[in-house]
Symmetry: C2
């Protein structure tokens, strides 16, 4: 699958792109500046086995080339980034990884809109593309180290089951279990959970606190 | 410890009280009506080994007798219940188990106040007692069956570390691991997570989806 990662120069987007490239997907790293995207792509290729496909460009070109678009920018850049790519998103799936964090990252932050960042994204881009929220709770720490498993489930929020199944497959391709966590409105909990996990990281002096859903044996 | 459980006639409060009674705590089941509290106490005693201490009465008397007060009522009864016991709570610890759920229990519900139920409780009772949120994500399903372990961590939110340590001990006494999940404001995430888990229960046709925090090896 052709996957654009907007903000793919950051640790989280870079790490996910790395794992998906290994799984055989075609990765297009997007950045505000095409040169930065290209340079991150070169860096990623240097870490990858031969035969993988990674390129880098600006966010708009990346979106135009892709089937699935992953939004992995800081929350403060979300609105501006989406404005740039809005038209090009039509008919594509937008997977948002964005987590809004306040000044104290370990304290759950409520957006002035009362919505989750994912719902704000959906409201901004309108009906032309559907948003699915996922990967908010995954620490970037071990993503580029394939010898490390990721001991964290991915909670997937969105309106359509088929979209969430596609994202669950992307989770599996990156070595993680995706769990359907309900409608997009539930993303407020998943985004907030990141603040809780950051607090646990700080208190335990670790970098990769995560969550597992118990009581279910299979994917879904 | 003398523990009052307001709403201890419900499944969650009853189950927690049962486990704490087994661990040697003195349990006082509170209900709106003293007779209902007494009848739940008789039911609990019938399931317990000899030598345990359980009594039942109305919510106010239960609060007056206890050192720690557990609030385990439906959200719709929270304000009224707290109004009844407000004066008697002075200087005690209030552990709230309350989860606000909307019409669709699997969809995260935002309270009109923009706060969590736990913060609303603290705002209502003021400075005379401190609120800690815990046990929101624990399914009542296996609480009264000691042959079943509870495969779920307890996220504990509150302002003071010593309060949270006391609640972590209550978790351990009930066979669970308590994890410090930050300030009381973070309870909005923990409460919302219950809606996510209810959705997972529905989709997987199970009754006890839970969460585990990964990456930490010990309590806390």
């Amino acid at each position: 699958m052709k996957i654009a990662i907007l903000g793919g120069t950051g640790n989280e987007g870079f790490g996910l792109g790395f794992r998906w490239a290994v799984a055989g997907h075609e990765i297009i790293i997007g950045s505000r500046l095409a040169e930065k995207g290209a340079s991150a792509a070169a860096e990623m290729l240097a870490k990858l086995p031969a035969g993988t496909s990674v390129s880098g460009t600006d966010n708009l070109s990346a979106t135009q080339q892709a089937e699935v678009v992953v939004l992995s920018v800081p929350y403060s850049a979300q609105e501006k980034t989406l404005e740039t790519v809005k038209e090009a998103l039509a008919g594509k799936l937008l997977v948002t990884v964005v987590v809004p964090l306040g000044e104290k990252a370990a304290r759950v932050w409520r957006l002035p809109s009362g919505l989750s960042a994912a719902e704000e994204a959906q409201a901004q881009i309108g009906d032309s593309a559907r948003v699915v929220a996922a990967f908010q709770n995954i620490s970037a720490h071990h993503l580029t180290d394939l010898t490390h498993g990721i001991d964290c489930d991915v909670l997937i929020c969105g309106e359509k089951g088929t979209d969430k199944e596609l994202v669950a497959q992307l989770c599996a391709d990156a070595g993680m279990r995706g769990v359907n966590a309900g409608p997009l409105a539930n993303a407020s909990v998943v985004e907030g959970l990141t603040a809780v996990l950051i607090g646990i990281n700080i208190r335990h002096k670790i970098k990769n606190a995560g969550i597992r859903i118990t009581g279910i044996s299979h994917q879904g």
